[in-house]
């Protein structure tokens, strides 16, 4: 079961079980506040029956013209609560909101090595639009897939036609 509700500032005090996952970035407070302030409808949290937070999605809507899109900035689920379809549900929610806001597509970045996540996004209808070289800074740096899913406004699915060549982070729009 997944009780889903809007994220609140106070949730930042109890999301550690989700964020201690090494691939879930813990951002500075200002980063979360920016999302909470600007795109509160894009920030949802999932609670277990015992009240513990078990997952969240943080996103935004951005772009102009045909690149008006929903973007998934962070999506993470506590290890114990995986294999329950929580991430998929959060993604569907973000897509639904983006549909209502008449976005053309939803996009996200994922580590190329994160096979489980790439497979999940593929199952949810996302495809690799392009590869971004050294998007993730670390030791070593790692490439990202920019994955996209066209929404109903993009009738011809133009937004997801893959780019033939990889791009560098500085070339992202």
């Amino acid at each position: 079961m997944t009780n889903i509700r809007p994220f609140r500032c106070e949730d930042l005090f109890k999301y550690n079980n989700i964020n201690l996952d090494p691939w879930t970035e813990t951002y500075g407070l200002s980063f979360y506040l920016q999302y909470i302030g600007h795109w509160p409808e894009y920030f949802q949290v999932v609670e277990a029956p015992n009240g513990q937070l078990v997952g969240y999605i943080m996103g935004k809507i951005e772009g102009t013209g045909e690149s008006w899109r929903g973007h998934v900035t962070a999506l993470s689920v506590d290890h114990v609560y995986r294999r329950l379809g929580i991430a998929a549900k959060l993604m569907r929610g973000l897509e639904e909101i983006s549909e209502k806001k008449e976005a053309y597509f939803v996009d996200l970045f994922v580590r190329v090595s994160n096979k489980v996540a790439v497979d999940m996004y593929t199952r949810l209808g996302y495809s690799v639009y392009r590869r971004v070289i050294d998007y993730y800074i670390g030791d070593p740096d790692e490439d990202a897939y920019d994955m996209r899913k066209a929404l109903s406004r993009d009738k011809l699915k133009k937004s997801i036609i893959p780019l033939p060549h990889p791009v560098r982070p500085e070339d992202l729009d």
């Binding site: 005090f13 109890k14 550690n16 813990t26 920016q34 015992n50 513990q52 609560y81 929610g93």
Partner: protein
Amino acid sequence: MINLFNERRLRPIYDCLDNGNSKKALQEADKLLKKHKDFQCAKVLKGLALLRLGQTSKAWNVLQEVQKEVPTDDCTLQAMAICYRELNRSDLIADAYENASKKDPTNEDLMVALFMAYVKIGNFKKQQQTALNLYKLKQKNSYYFWAIMSVYMQAITNPDKEMASKMLLSLAQKMCKKFIDEDKVESEAEVELYLMILEKQENFEEILKATDGPLARLLPNYLDFLRRRKAYLYLKTSRYQEAFETFRSLIDNNVDQLEYYQQLYEVAFKLEQLAINVHSSADQVPKNEDNPFIFKVIETISKYLYIKNESSSNGKQSSKKISHSKYRAPYIARIELYETLKARCENHPSYHSLLSTISVDSIKLYTQFFTLFGHKDASFFDFSYLFTKFNKPKADVCSIIDAIEVIHGPLLDKEPTTLNEMYRLLCFIKLNYFAGRYSSMEDFDKQKLIARLLDLYDHSIQFGVDLLPSDFQPPDPFVLVISYLLLNESNIKDNSKLLNLLIILERSLKKSPSNYNSKLALIKIYNAIGACGCSNQWFESMDIKHLQIDTLGYLISDALLLCGHFSTACKKITNASRFYCANYKDTFDFLVSFYKIGSFTKIEEIMKLKERLNLSINYSSVELDKMVLALILVTKSPDSFAQTMMTIDVDLDKIENGFDDRLDNRDVAIFRVLDNETSEQSEKNREKWFDDQLKWIKLRHLLLKTIVVGFCSLAKLELKDLNNAGSSEMINSNSIGAKFEESDFPSFTKNLEKLTAYYETLKTKPIYLEMFPLQGPQPSRINYYLQKDYFDIILKILNQLKVVHESSKEKAVSWDDSWLNILQSIINDISVSLKVSNSFFELGKVLNDLSFIVETICFAVILLGFINLSVKKDLQESKKNKKKRNLEVLANISGIVENFNNALNEMNTCLAFLLSTLDEMNLNHLINAPVDYDMFKSKGIFFQQPDVYHSTHKEITSKLEQSYKKTASQLHSTISMKMKYLNSLKL
């Protein structure tokens, strides 16, 4: 407005400031001011450069000069705002904009900046006035709603809830209503603000009206959240029928939201209660079939227990097949409803038939849940939630476990063949743990169980192939259960068992490097045995940062101080202090931006967040520890002590404010606890920690304040000495030194009295040393501290200082050396304990004592320095005056000098002995002791391969040795440094 010409001239100064080259910026500003002496912005930038060079008073003068000229150009004002912000005087930013706005009252930008300046200082009343003035100037909706939000903030922060908040809220509501009636409301944010006001007024009817009326067009219904909100409004307005229907329809759209089912059955009970009341008033007895609403709930739940699969995998239409739903919520809801009906059926006989509609008994419901969801890692937590919510006696839980075994066979006896089987087995094991079946086992059986769990771990490693470094090994929970079975006092004190546990955990992390559960267990174990070098290694690997410093920093911070890793502690504490200060400022910036974007609903939340961080008990601890560590690590001589006092940025007055409003923000739930006894004890330990930590902070705060006031009052007499330490311009406005003018010796005496009285109250405080369960908070440091008389040493020296300083020296001055005896006896005790400690646990305790005695020595040396300062002054004065009477005074001063020098010599001997004790610290008997690795005799696929076992064992003992040696060397160097300090005090 500044023109391009001026901007070009200012550019070099801005560039230098941006690049951190304040000296060059100052030169550039001077150069420009030579040509244009009235260039206001250049003056302010000069002020900023001075400020960043530490020349606060010069910077201050420059700023005051410009402030008097009432600048109105944006660049100058912005530069002034930066200066005032760095000076922590945001109130002056508002002043500057206020004056500018008076001078140029039609300037919209100035007025907006003034509004934001008020936001930063939280002056809601002035915010309101400014926003209304802005609205008069330009009829923009945003200005009008800024004013309303400002009224709202006045209302919710007003201490007089009854009067002012009602009036203010009603004003805010009327202001909104006016716009609504005039059809001027334009955005979601404006409607939300109106709803927020109504919510505070508890005017739920009006909210419902608004969400049903024309305003609703502005409220989007993302993810059904608007309907969810309405459902709760129906509840609050007692419209249960509507609430019932709304929750039912919410379930249709979100089958897995347990909350909706829970509300649904609670509303059903309410509706039936109302029906009963109606019946009762008509003297009719309700009949069994009088439960239509609950029956409907059962129907709703049943609807979602099974789903219909309409198409087959090849995409062709196939016959409808009914299977179990993959959603847990309807199943959990069914159990909840069953348990609730059962609990209430004594007073409601009609519930019996409802119960039989649901199931023959509750055991069947739980076993079915296990069969359907036991293979999900999360299912155990669903069970524990249900057992806890309905207060299931252990015997009932055992019956459920037995029933599961009847269905699934003896689970623990067979090796799982699939991942799902492994998870099911794990759930079963955790249920047994929850039921207390393992805790009551005899040692022998427990060891057999652990061996079996080890085998199961070994066997199940096969399910974790091709894992990414971020993935957990699926069988990791076996290790977690093993560690919980072993984490008790007797095992931690038994070296062989302890090392076996460490080997199991460390080995599991090699296979599963991201598993933070094992890391947390290791951190707590290493902390418990005083090996915080090892715990810190795992703490670092978790990349804990930002807000986690507040919630998880507790895992390591106290331990580092307790085992004398002062330098590492200092780095952590400096980092934490920066986090708290930066966030304080950041949250203000966000308040401003939230007004700008109209995110009104989040402003109150941000204010609360800011307050929560500001009142965090960890924040106070960090600030006080920062100061103590500076005294331990930095002060090498009286001069360096003075310098530290002048430059350290710790606001003791701020810490003193609102002691009792402190909050505990620690995230203790990070430990996955498997039974209620552990979580209850953990909660008790948490409460004890919090109470004790408050006492600890108070004691430390009083001590540091007494030291500061003592120093300031003595240093004032020796301004020359102070000038050696740094010119007054260097004084940070927040530093302790900035306040030295305010202190005199009587206020030192007053502080000392307060400190002594407070310490007396602590002496009767029971010492609380319950450190188990280890997977939870540990006792506050104060409990270890009060076990020995460290503080008596400090108090006695402080009193000696008082006596020496206050005496006219016309009579012989009494000298109390008893603190030396205490010091000596503690050091002797420690020396003996260090030699006889025959377990890592005992060694850890001795290291705690060692760290406290070293800290005490640091305080003692500083305070002896104060006596030195006071006597030196007497000596100088008496030498100037050669009258006969003064010969007596001189003789008495000589008496003090002699006593003082003798005390220094004796202390020196004590410290030399302590150094030799550290030099002689020998850990070989612990490190090289054999370990019984047959203890948990298992088949030995992974863990018990002798070479792997031995190499891990060696790795651990070598880590332990390193950590202990680091403690010894850090304490050694600290003592050596303080011995030099001590020797420099001889008169």
